[in-house]
Symmetry: C2
Subunit: 531 residues, 2 copies
């Protein structure tokens, strides 16, 4: 079977080539998005990509060493503030010098180096459906959706406060996006009380998604609730102690300070064997010195201090070295994403994580743009390439993020997914063999012929080419006829179609009941403390 | 003097950080776009960026060797067709086996290797204003605007046939874009007769721009006219014989064939010491086998055959190894830009060029999108990163290209310029020293403080940060108040402002008269042959 297509084979530069009609071989088999045997982390049937590039070291070896030594100097001489009695006590008992008045911990370099060696360089993050387990570390590359914005947006409704309906729709949409390997989207659900909404949010995430979970690590209360809920899903806390099932994001209060809620969250996650993603929020020029070298050294100090805490709580506790390093847009005072400074920040952060053999979390596929426009497109790609080149392992905010993280966008979810879906083909590289060099085919077709009808073309096109869902390559006239839709308009149609295709995965009834009971009880308990 | 700015310091993930107000140090001095001392090729005061990255070899050494051997085999056993008596005669006289019936040339490997060694690995392209000279090769990276589309477009006027007015406006716009290092934009000027418009186009480019020129290499007639016009600008043909002042684009008629017009153009440019950019148009699956390895080998064969011709015409003739390698969008039959296949194509082409010590031209900052939307943004960045990583030296279609090369867009010109303007800051990397590590500043500010008011911040922010012209980082409310403009809308305002700022550089009156006389005479001569 063959179908006809028209291609505008156009002229490049001054040379004129007349348009050709092209006949493309077709097939009854559906086109596969991911070439078989590529794009997966390791050999295991797990989610996530296998990054085949050698990581790029943006810092020469001596510069990396200087940053490392500066970090140890900051940790030893300046120290890091932990506004938390439990953390200070743990450090003191481990033999570190602690200034209780200032809540400041001074880190001996040998202790830092000893503790960070306890962190696993690679671990598996478990999901309730084991097909959705992901490996963090090595050559794996795992993407998770946007998490945290107060607002949601779509093309028709514009920007608005997030609600539970939006929250759940975003989870459903993310669930059908194969390239969202881990986690569920999350917005600040404004139609639920702030004190207890963490319970509803995670309950619905567990119910609607079979992927691994991102929890709340802000405060003892939220951290314990979320770990307890995952314990219910997997049986009990013992069952997840060495099989992490939830990750918490730990942000320092830069420069060089952790507040009590984050320190407590970290301790709870580490103690339960769950994953802490330590992510200083360094905005060079505001929360760190303006120079990138200092920003990286300070981030490194903040990050290692928290890794040391996690490994002091529980040796071998899984952690990720996170980075959210950006510059400052001096004219508006906003953190600036998708910029060369951010690209350099990602590359140098990943390099420092690699030095310490720690899995690396990159900030995300970020943009300052308010809408899914050209700026969103180029800024996100400007973040994605260094993530890939730096050999980052886990990417939060991998899809859906707009306006510096203030907005979760339905259109942007599918647009970003499209960008990420290109990676497996890139990682498959250029295999060279007699079959792929195809000298016999070149000889057979001969000068001036074409390769469209060749059996060789039919045999290989599915794995050679990436097949997009949203990118337009129509002839102009056909594009006009179909309504002159830009990428945002096509994305608007696509997310609705994908959302409609979502099917609830079902949850074991006993687990569901147990979770519901837990949520109801905890709500009563929390509400009682408010009244 | 200080001004106040507001930043939404927001929360990442589950952690809540309250918004801060941020005071940013300001200055009376204007912000400089390019950090001093970085971004320029070499030490010379020339246009172009200095690419500080080590080129990425996407092919392992043995794969590169296999591609090379396959190339020599194609050249020796299959040969390349040159539908041109002059080319066949040159090859025959150089001792190659030529099949006159088939117009096929068989290339002995030793001859190929000997001839390509004659091509200079690095040369200077001269402009009528020497400040606009560019170095091609080494660690230089030079961008040129879009060239060749039949249509132009802007936000208000939509897509339309190109006219001389549009053509000249695009030249003016490109002239004020500092990041357009070489060349002038060109569209097919439909309101002038096709037989003579090459004369008008180049005349107006020379009049309106002081940058280096891209000429027409399609046919003896156009090639000679354009070289003669540059000879007038620089005095005479002798004056440019060893100081190339114009480049021609040579496209093969893939697979493995050069038509007479292109072969003649190449011979004319080489003979006059001008630059041939050899660019096979390989669309894997259509004009080459579908597998990338074969596409690269075939491109390599076509490219080297033409380089051999140029070096046979005039040993030492400056050439570039060009690539326009793309995949095929199977569903529409269009060449597919901004895809992983294209990224791999750029990287492997640049690697082969490097093997032969030939300067490399990359296809461009390309997209299939019809409008400056998210797709245009991400596809162009998907082309730009491999261009940078591959160590390409010259980028045609660096700005303004839309719709697979069918349209030159005014908005896209300034949007693309914005992307390219990020590169110098990226290339400046992360300098590490006591001054940039700033341990004293970190100690001085202390935990929980901020760095906005520091003298260190004031001293470094101009060189640490890239300052965009179009990227939006406004607070949402302020963005709404200013009309909710997306990047395309802002670009529409910006190109008009830039165009209005254009000032004609002036042209030596004697040169102008000489050029006008030449154009008038040649028009009479050409028109006489039509009648």
């Amino acid at each position: 079977m063959r179908r006809r297509f028209v291609a505008a084979l156009f002229c490049d530069g001054a040379s004129a080539t007349l348009p050709h009609r092209i006949t493309v071989p077709s097939s009854e088999e559906p086109v596969v998005l991911h070439p078989p045997g590529c794009g997966r982390a390791g050999e295991a049937p797990m989610r996530g990509f296998k990054n085949t590039l050698k990581p790029l070291n943006i810092l020469p070896p001596e510069a990396e060493e200087q940053v490392h030594r500066a970090t140890l100097k900051i940790l030893r001489e300046h120290g890091v503030i932990f506004e938390d009695a439990r953390a200070l006590d743990l450090f003191r008992r481990a033999g570190l010098r602690v200034d209780d008045t200032e809540q400041r911990v001074f880190f001996a370099p040998e202790f830092v180096e000893q503790q960070i060696r306890r962190a696993p360089p690679r671990f598996t993050l478990h999901a309730r459906n084991p097909d959705n387990d992901v490996v963090i570390g090595g050559d794996g590359l795992v993407f998770a959706p946007v998490s945290g914005p107060p607002f949601v947006a779509d093309r028709e409704g514009g920007r608005r406060d997030g609600t539970l309906k939006d929250q759940n729709d975003l989870v459903r949409l993310s669930e059908v996006l194969d390239v969202m390997h881990h986690g569920c989207p999350e917005v600040a659900v404004k139609d639920l009380p702030v004190e207890t909404r963490h319970l509803d949010i995670l309950y619905h995430q567990i119910r609607l998604s079979t992927k691994g979970m991102i929890g709340d690590a802000w405060s003892t209360l939220r951290a314990r609730d979320h770990i307890d809920m995952m314990a219910i899903v997997f049986g009990n806390r013992e069952a997840i102690l060495d099989r992490p099932a939830i990750v918490g994001i730990i942000n320092s209060n830069s420069p060089l300070r952790y507040d009590s809620n984050m320190a407590e969250g970290l301790i709870e996650y580490a103690d339960a064997g769950q994953v802490n993603i330590i992510t200083p929020f360094i905005m060079a020029g505001a929360t760190s010195p303006v120079t990138l070298a200092a920003a990286v050294a300070q981030q490194n100090a903040e990050c290692l201090a928290a890794v040391v805490l996690a490994e002091t709580v529980r040796p071998g506790a899984p952690v990720m070295y996170g980075s959210f390093l950006t510059g400052l847009e001096m004219r508006t005072g906003a953190p600036a994403f998708g910029r060369p400074e951010a690209a350099l920040g990602i590359l140098s952060s990943a390099q420092m994580a690699r030095r310490y053999n720690l899995p690396c979390r990159a900030g995300g596929v970020l943009t300052n743009s308010k809408v899914p426009d050209a700026q969103a497109g180029w800024e996100k790609m400007m973040q994605l390439w260094p993530i890939v080149l730096g050999g980052c392992h886990y990417v939060l905010h991998g899809a859906g993020w707009l306006d510096g993280g203030l907005t979760a966008s339905f259109e942007q979810m599918v647009l970003d997914a499209e960008m990420l879906e290109m990676l497996p083909r890139f990682f498959a590289g250029v295999p060279v063999s007699d079959e792929t060099l195809a000298l016999d085919v070149i000889a057979h077709v001969g000068a001036g012929g074409h390769f469209l009808g060749e059996e060789h073309t039919r045999r290989h096109f599915r794995s050679e080419f990436y097949f997009p869902n949203l990118a337009d390559t129509e002839a102009y006239e056909s594009w006009v006829k179909k309504g002159e839709k830009d990428a945002g308009a096509r994305a608007s149609e696509r997310w609705k179609k994908l959302l409609a295709s979502y099917q609830e995965p079902g949850l074991d009834m006993a687990v569901d009941d147990h979770l519901k009971d837990f949520v109801a009880r905890r709500k009563r308990e929390i509400e009682a403390t408010i009244d």
